[in-house]
């Protein structure tokens, strides 16, 4: 049988780092093939090679049984291969139809009218509707993703590579998305799905290839495997889905929020009259559907956003008028933000610099206004080894790291500051099971050292796993609060959507 795509012994180096090591792969025509692996396992690199964005250092690629050399995305598209990147490759201030026809060959004029019709028709056939004249940046993310998929289908691609497509979707968008994938498979497309979510692999794929540290460690038929087996293959050891933890011994209150109101960017009330308390040595989880005021709450506590009214006490002191820098330095508030790319890290700076972002002004990192790079480097070396950051050296840019390793840097840096209060927002977003486990263990250890932790998350399982108490936020208010022993997914789920228990 001829496979849609076959890779033989692909090798790819970045400098002296080997991102893909002797990778071979066979993808059956008309199947959904999952590629599974931890952050940094080399999945995206491999896919970018298939799509002609990266050139392999050695190895062979066969498309429909014929050996090909894929020198550019244009060549890949000619071979019927298309890719949707995790961060969409769209010209945001152009319209949907302009994005769809960008780069189309064989026409001199844009023929917008013709394409508008054709695009609408194609979307109809797939079971959704689209406004071709809408500018892409105005569309919700789920719709942008559909535009990306349409773009490939519009070029007659029949092998679709989707790089972590569900990471940008909300839980209730995932169902319809999988339906779309199934429909595409029925229509004859072959799909390569990159993911590190095991349940998705089980749910939709026919076969799965597991990668670890740039190598293929297993090829399995989905029907004949389990989530646990996949997780073990992926991480290379047994994964504890439930990190072991001891009962907490809460001490004095550290964070006391009283009747707090915070406005969002549109000057509307995002947090309205919210009160909560977090004590020494406990983790208070904040559960809720994204957009119910969590981000604004975290920003108000850390000082990135001012409170409209109400009080925030940290260690008994009202902090509402105190600057971010002083909250960090004097009150020891640590923050692991939701958006590590924009807020947590300076992506274009080295790991060294990123490791001291919160403390570079202090001794021993700076003396009389001069930075001591030797001390900083040494500190960074210690940090990356203690927090198991996989990288090539502390002078690498933060941008080059995978998401999980970037997050470990942020978590490590904030904990090294010796926080009394740690505000953690969506800490595990985009991380694989191995990295999630590591981050959670680290946080629990910090709790046992007496830090008060506010743990904001949309993932129920995770909250039930590591929190001592869970508060549910709904429309900027606490809809209910309970000890984790009394909490169930059903109960929290109901509160999250505005129901009562």
């Amino acid at each position: 049988m001829i496979h849609r795509l076959t890779l033989e012994s692909i090798v790819k180096n970045f400098g002296n780092f080997r991102a893909n090591d002797d990778v071979s792969l066979q993808v059956k025509t008309g199947s959904v093939h999952a590629i599974l692996g931890e952050n940094g396992a080399g999945k995206s690199t491999l896919m970018n090679i298939i799509y002609g964005l990266y050139q392999p250092d050695s190895g062979k690629i066969f498309s429909r049984g014929e050996e090909v050399s894929i020198s550019s995305p244009r060549r890949a598209l000619d071979l019927g291969i298309g890719m949707v990147h995790q961060h969409f490759k769209q010209v945001e201030n152009m319209t949907v139809v302009e994005n769809l026809i960008l780069g189309l060959k064989g026409q001199w004029m844009m023929k917008l009218n013709h394409h508008r019709q054709a695009v609408k028709q194609m979307a109809d056939d797939l079971g959704f509707s689209i406004e071709p004249e809408q500018q892409v940046w105005r569309l919700p993310v789920g719709m942008q993703q559909r535009v990306e998929i349409l773009k490939l289908l519009y070029r007659n691609a029949d092998l679709l590579i989707l790089d972590e497509p569900t990471s940008v979707l909300t839980p209730n968008e995932i169902g319809p998305f999988f339906k779309l994938l199934r429909r595409l498979r029925e229509m004859g497309s072959t799909i390569i799905l990159i993911t590190h979510k095991l349940n998705e692999v089980m749910d939709i794929s026919d076969r799965a290839t597991v990668m670890r540290s740039g190598r293929v460690v297993a090829n399995v038929d989905t029907a004949q495997t389990t989530q646990r087996e996949l997780a073990t293959l992926m991480v290379g050891r047994e994964v504890v889905f439930n990190v072991a933890r001891r009962e907490s011994k809460p001490g004095k209150p550290v964070l006391e929020v009283n009747d707090l109101t915070v406005l969002d960017d549109r000057r509307l009330e995002a947090v309205s009259g919210l009160s909560m308390t977090v004590r020494e040595g406990e983790i208070l989880g904040v559960a809720g559907v994204d957009g119910n005021g969590q981000a604004e709450l975290a920003e108000a506590i850390t000082g990135l956003r001012s409170a409209a009214s109400g009080r925030i006490n940290v260690s008994g002191m009202d902090v509402t008028g105190i600057s971010v820098a002083r909250r960090k330095r004097d009150l020891k508030i640590g923050f692991v933000p939701e958006d590590r790319h924009r807020v947590g890290l300076d992506l274009d700076a080295t790991l060294s610099i990123n490791s001291v972002l919160r403390s570079f002004k202090e001794r021993p990192f700076s003396r009389r206004g001069w930075l001591d790079f030797q001390v900083i480097d040494k500190h960074a070396e210690e940090l990356v080894s203690r927090y198991d950051v996989r990288m090539r050296g502390v002078h690498q840019k933060a941008r080059d790291l995978s998401g999980g390793n970037q997050q470990k840097i942020v978590v490590g840096r904030e904990i090294e500051g010796g926080p009394k209060l740690l505000v953690v927002s969506q800490a595990t977003k985009g991380l694989d099971v191995g990295a999630i486990e590591f981050v959670q263990k680290t946080l629990l250890a910090q709790r046992d050292r007496g830090t008060a932790i506010l743990y904001i998350s949309t993932e129920l399982e995770e909250l039930l796993n590591i929190c001592d108490r869970v508060a549910v936020i709904f429309k900027g208010r606490i809809a209910g609060e309970m000890n984790v022993s009394e909490a169930t997914s059903e109960r929290i789920g109901l509160l999250m959507t505005g129901g009562r228990t």
Binding site: Y54, P73, L77, N93, E98, L102, G103, W108, M109
Partner: protein, 314 residues
């Protein structure tokens, strides 16, 4: 002081000279728009105009034909575009620094070469240039006929150029690709657009067009070459690009505005001897600075302008 505005003859003379002064600006601005739309800053416009001016003088002088002068200018401009592309696109140099370097080089090089090539002095040349001729029928349109349709070949070339550039950028698949590589080259690349090839083409074409602006001064306005003959017009064209929001037609209109102000200041220098001439001479530059300042935050330049693109760097 402004009586001339109410006399049809004087007004048409005045507008005619304003338009004439704006033609070199328009070539430079349209050339610059093409580069910047493709995501490459070209602040070498001034230098490229100068090189074009010298090449035009040399070509026309040696051959005795204005057409040869024009072609030399185009080739020289294109060559400077190749240089800018290699340094600023392939070798990933800072495009602002490279653009300045090209301009500084051009300024010294053209002064030096003009002394070498024209030992008797380039400003005593009497070059054969492009002479005005009327377009049948159109030249008879009252008022505008005389201003727009009794011009030289380069002027008509300019009109065609603006129209063609508008058409290509906003109506064709090629133009869509150019706009896309200026906004998000990664997106264009993954959609199958050859980013590097297109950036090179745009920079080379844009530079050649800017050089025609310099050639125009030599071959249609003054018929000689003198040191720094472009007098900062390339920089004013940069202002026109911003004022015109990276749209070739609007940039052209902005150039016309600058040209008319230039004509106005020339007239004032002549008619108001009591006021220091420098005050008037500064006018176009002041206007261009004001335009810049007034527009800060209001205009959206191509998002990828001046940024390097490399597939394998993320």
């Amino acid at each position: 002081m402004f009586n001339f505005l109410f006399d049809a003859h004087q007004l048409s003379d005045f507008l005619g000279s304003g338009i004439g002064l704006s033609v070199p600006l328009i070539f430079a601005a349209v050339g610059g728009v093409i580069c910047e739309r493709a995501g490459v800053f070209n602040i070498a416009l001034e230098g490229q105009m100068l090189l074009g001016a010298l090449a035009a003088a040399v070509g026309a002088n040696l051959s005795g034909s204005a057409e040869v002068g024009l072609i030399s200018a185009v080739l020289t401009g294109a060559l400077s575009g190749v240089l800018l592309s290699i340094l600023g696109v392939s070798l990933r140099g800072n495009q602002i620094v490279i653009g300045l370097a090209i301009t500084l080089f051009a300024s010294g090089f053209t002064s030096f070469m003009s002394r070498v090539l024209f030992p008797e002095g380039a400003n005593s040349l009497r070059l054969d240039g492009f002479r005005p001729f009327g377009l049948p029928l159109l030249e008879n349109i009252p008022f505008f006929g005389k201003i727009l349709f009794q011009q030289d070949a380069l002027f008509y070339l300019m009109l065609i150029l603006v129209a063609v550039t508008m058409f290509v950028i906003y109506r064709t698949q090629l133009g869509l690709s150019i706009r896309a590589i200026g906004e998000n080259p990664g997106a264009a690349d993954t959609a199958g657009v050859p980013v590097m090839l297109l950036r090179y083409s745009c920079v080379i074409a844009g530079s050649a067009i800017a050089a025609i602006g310099g050639a125009y001064i030599v071959l249609a306005q003054v018929f000689l070459f003198s040191d720094n003959i472009t007098a900062g017009k390339g920089f004013i064209a940069l202002g026109a690009i911003v004022l015109g929001r990276w749209n070739p037609l609007f940039a052209t209109l902005a150039c016309l505005l600058f040209g008319v102000f230039d004509a106005l200041q020339l007239r004032m220098q002549a008619t108001q001897p009591d006021i220091p001439a420098q005050l008037f001479a500064a006018m176009p530059y002041v206007i261009s600075i004001l335009a810049f300042v007034g527009l800060i935050g209001l205009v959206h330049p191509p998002a990828a302008g001046g940024k390097h693109y490399d597939r394998e760097v993320r």
